[in-house]
């Protein structure tokens, strides 16, 4: 059996990744849903999963100074490139949020007063919801290594997919273009980039498309709320044409989406123009993935 992974990303936050993902969950019948926005996850608000298994994520190590051994020579602070060690209250101390656990201070300390210790950075979950299985996570606020936690969630999702014989994984991706975003798309067969017709939307679209190209994954664009600014929609279409990118679909601005979000319901449960557009985008996406028609 081949498991196919579809990733939905955006570069800019708030363009509608989760709105689209939640509807896809309902349209797909038995797809495994994965929320890769581990910083600020939202998909569970609509899909309301019941957690079956919880895993702890020890992603990063941090430096700890043994104050009994420390002579306050300051060598650790001088070798740290993350400005993570400061002299405060008569003692060199590690600022945990800035420490990357790189080991440099451990090696440099002449009296072996520093060691690396694993820290709990978050949790991840195997769950079931109305639409089937779901893998999701929550990073502890202020932690680093969200990319590492995303990789764990992705691994878990593949395990579930193979053991439960699920053909399609749908990934609600992380915003931005850094490690969390790239960790959301590696290994995907197709990537949907959700954009909006604003100056910021186009600017960020170009940066995420350039990032996806590094991974050589086929991708297409969805323009959300396309009718709020015709001129900017044309700009996106022009960019897509120049870059030879397909616009998979355009979703109109629709007050029903706001209402659906407030009710924590997927938009396709409503009889409205944006729901029709989403259904159409879903059909086209299924063809891209060479899956047999659902329903």
């Amino acid at each position: 059996m081949i498991v196919k992974q579809l990733a939905i990303v955006s570069g800019k936050g708030g363009t509608g990744k989760t709105t689209l993902s939640a509807s896809f969950a309902h349209l797909a019948k038995n797809a495994l849903m994965v929320d890769c926005d581990v910083d600020a996850p939202n998909l569970h608000i609509i899909l309301k999963p019941e957690v079956n298994k919880t895993f702890e994520y020890f992603g990063s190590k941090k430096a700890f100074i043994d104050f009994d051994k420390c002579t306050n020579c300051g060598i650790c602070a001088s070798v740290c490139r993350f400005e993570a060690i400061d002299f405060e209250q008569n003692q060199y101390r590690v600022k945990e949020y800035a420490c990357e656990g790189c080991n440099a201070c451990v090696i440099a300390c002449p009296v072996n007063a520093i060691s690396l210790k694993k820290t709990l950075n978050g949790k991840y979950f195997e769950s079931t919801c109305e639409t089937g299985y779901m893998a999701h996570a929550l990073l502890n606020p202020g932690e680093e290594t969200s990319g590492g936690l995303i990789s764990e969630v992705r691994k878990l999702s593949l395990e579930i997919a193979y053991s439960k014989k699920i053909e399609l994984i749908i990934i609600d991706g992380a915003p931005g273009i850094g490690c969390p975003a790239t960790s959301s798309i590696v290994g995907a067969k197709y990537v949907i980039v959700v954009s909006e017709p604003t100056k910021s939307g186009l600017h960020d679209l170009v940066r995420i498309v350039e990032t996806i190209k590094h991974f050589k994954i086929p991708h297409g664009i969805v323009i959300n709320k396309f009718d709020i600014n015709d001129e900017q929609t044309k700009e996106i279409e022009k960019y897509a044409q120049e870059e030879n990118l397909e616009i998979i679909g355009k979703i109109p601005f629709d007050k029903t989406v706001v209402e659906a979000t407030k009710q924590a319901k997927p938009i396709i449960e409503y009889d409205c123009k944006s729901a029709f557009a989403v259904k159409d985008i879903f059909e086209k996406t299924i063809q891209k993935l060479n899956l047999s028609p659902q329903s």
Binding site: T18, N42, E144, T145, A174, R207, N229
Partner: protein
């Protein structure tokens, strides 16, 4: 004073609040500095005509192996926490994309066989945004982390000015780096369950660092009871409600400042600043 604008959830209006607040305060005669710290997807520059005066490269140092000196002892690979060095009996390889540029391998090498070469990861641009001091941070496409660029960009805050920091979304390392040193954090949210969920995470984050906070609700149409009761129970001041107005959305989409386009909205940012001032003092 340093005011950080953050949100947890993306797309709630951080840049809208940052740019309009900067514009209005400058117009009212304050000395303002606007710093865009969302180095992955910077947007604040789109709302001004920027006259750039300087671009500063942000480089990190990554190791390079001197094969004449290397004995393939493997100490560098053992020291590296990021699996960025692989040593075999014949070769020592550095994987630049995994390297955190921490220098641990150099400290571990007994044979002085590693030197460092610069690698560019982004840039900081300084300029003037219609008279407002402006700093933009931008990460190169393909880089994994913006934290070091943010750390550099933050150093351009000016004690004698009102510094407005447009922060990245989320609640992990880039955001944490951005809000250090802030005198006040403005948390921008929207009246939806998504907005509230992520707002709570952002509040937890700011509380960890003992920062003073206040809330702006963007696209306010009608009450989200859960949001208002959350703010009340946790004693979090609500500073401003920006109404749900299609004209605001349209002005944003065109890269315009709505407080300039729709003058009746100008005063809300003066009031926002006054409320911040009251809390900080």
């Amino acid at each position: 004073m340093i005011i950080a604008i953050l949100s947890g959830k993306g797309g709630t209006g951080k840049t809208t609040v940052s740019t309009n607040l900067a514009y209005v305060l400058d117009k009212k005669g304050h000395s303002v500095k606007l710093i865009d710290l969302d180095a992955e997807e910077p947007n604040a520059h789109l709302f001004f005509d920027i006259d750039y005066s300087e671009h500063i490269d942000v480089d990190v140092k990554i190791p390079k192996v001197d094969n004449a000196k290397c004995t393939h002892c493997g100490d560098c690979a053992k020291a590296c926490q990021f699996s960025a060095i692989v040593v075999s009996s014949k070769s020592t390889l550095v994987f630049a994309h995994l390297c955190h540029a921490c220098g641990a391998c150099l400290l571990a090498c007994k044979y002085n066989a590693l030197e460092e070469i610069p690698k560019n990861i982004g840039k900081i641009s300084l300029g003037s945004a219609n008279g407002i001091d402006f700093v933009k941070s931008q990460m190169n496409i393909g880089e994994p982390s913006a934290v070091r660029i943010i750390r550099q960009a933050k150093k351009y805050t000016n004690k004698n000015k009102i510094n407005i920091l447009d922060c990245p979304p989320g609640v992990s390392c880039p955001t944490v780096e951005s809000i250090q040193m802030a005198d006040f954090c403005v948390l921008v949210t929207e009246p939806t369950p998504f907005g509230l969920h992520d707002l709570k995470l952002a509040v937890d984050l700011t509380r960890q660092f003992g920062l003073k906070i206040g809330i702006v609700i963007n696209r306010y149409d009608n009450k989200l009871i859960e949001l208002e009761s959350y703010l009340e129970e946790n004693n979090i001041p609500l500073l401003l409600k920006i109404p749900y107005d299609i004209k605001i959305a349209q002005s944003y989409s065109k890269g315009k400042l709505f407080s300039k386009e729709i003058p009746q909205y100008e005063n809300m940012f003066v009031e926002l600043y006054n409320k911040i001032l009251e809390i900080v003092q």
